[in-house]
Amino acid sequence: MTGFAAAITGIGMVTPAGIGVKESWDRVVEGRPTAAHHSDLDGLPVTMACKVPDFGPAALGLRGAWQWDRYSQFAIAAAREALDQAGLTPGSWVDSARVAVIVGSGAGGTATLEEQHRTLIEEGPSEVSPMTLPMGLLNMAAGQVAIDIGANGPCMAPCTACAAGASAIGLGRDLIRSGLADIVVAGGAEAPITPLYVSSFARMRALSRRLDSPGTASRPFDASRDGFVLGEGAGIVVLESEEHARARGVAPVARVIGYGASADAHHVTSPHPEGKGAELAVRAALADAGLTGRDIGYVNAHGTSTPLNDVIEAGVIQRVAGTDVQVSSTKGVTGHPLGAAGSIEAAFAALTVHHGVIPPSASTTEVDPRVEVDVVHGAARRGRVDVALSNSFGFGGQNAALLIASA
């Protein structure tokens, strides 16, 4: 290995599998799906989704939550957990201008925007909330996290759709490597289980229609997969240089050793048929880390459970890393949390190399015969993994690949 490594010293998570890293990780390792019907989706073409259970502003234990869209609430809760694990106290920075925040999203505050648009149409412009934009904008999770933790360094929000969380971690790594920040709070947040998003994805025929069996609807790499199940949540990591972590006396959970990004330059939603862009991203990450595909022990795949993605992605993985590489998608449990997926899954990959446990692709029973890699399903697999790859591919053909290594 020749590349630069950024230490991951803290992880925070809010996922459909649970609030907090432990709950989320335990359920993903168990392979227990979270998809269920929700009555607030009644009347929509698809009424099932993977929701964060029992999440309310009170869970944040802080006043002011009313002015944050749900996606920002997730981000703030996850950022606090990540900082806590990293042994950092918000507001007590050595130099707050050296603390950066990069939190990406795909949909931003769409629930707020949809609700206020309804108000505009039904009640008129004078009734539109002045909080519409402060809550609804796509950069607000990043802005609100910076406010919440008192970080004055660079603050940005990549909007690379379902790659946003991974882009954020990659860009965060770059800020550490370039010396522009000492600490980066990076990840993605998403709360897209709304009438507009559910309807739009349903109209694209992207969502699973296995409505009679929500618990097995998200089945990445399975021969009978028929679409993804919409999820939500946030995943945030704390990044710093290994020297910085050592000087603080903090042991990293794992390390980000490679990042690659690319564009399909092909179609707005369909992946390139040969996975050209995806493969470019993965190979760029490997080159960045000074590794070859054979060094990858496990892939936490994008694995959305859509007919197209899973077979094309498996082809890319096979070409790059061979047929023996272990692959699973935690979306079998969490569904697809869009812009938060990349960071939640990079965090799961970090936990895989940290604990030596590969979570299974939940609900996958019969692997698609065109998928010629070792899909871990049925139960978690234990064993040392030195390097894990986390793939994220977004609408717009925007791809990000992260290589995570044990500390």
């Binding site: 009170a58 006043r63 002011g64």
Partner: protein, 80 residues
């Protein structure tokens, strides 16, 4: 305390998730963590819940909870 006071406190609690114990007559907006956007939001909530319309000019002169209660009492009386 008047019933108007209680109604106003309920609006603060419902809209901003505040602890009712903190919404006292001499609590100012800063103390409650509410900024100028929150005040506009408060006016909307008062209109929806109590049917009281507070103008932007009136809002600009308000700084503590007691001012709001007084204004609502005055406007409520005017409506009656």
């Amino acid at each position: 305390m008047s019933s108007v006071h209680d109604s106003v406190v309920e609006v603060f609690v419902a809209r901003f998730g505040l602890d009712p114990e903190t919404v006292v007559a001499d609590a100012n907006f800063d103390d409650l963590g509410l900024d100028s956007l929150s005040q506009i939001e408060l006016a909307t909530a008062l209109k929806k819940r109590l049917g009281i319309v507070i103008t932007d000019e009136e809002l600009s002169e308000i700084s503590v909870v007691g001012d709001i209660v007084a204004l609502v009492e005055q406007k409520g009386a005017a409506v009656r």
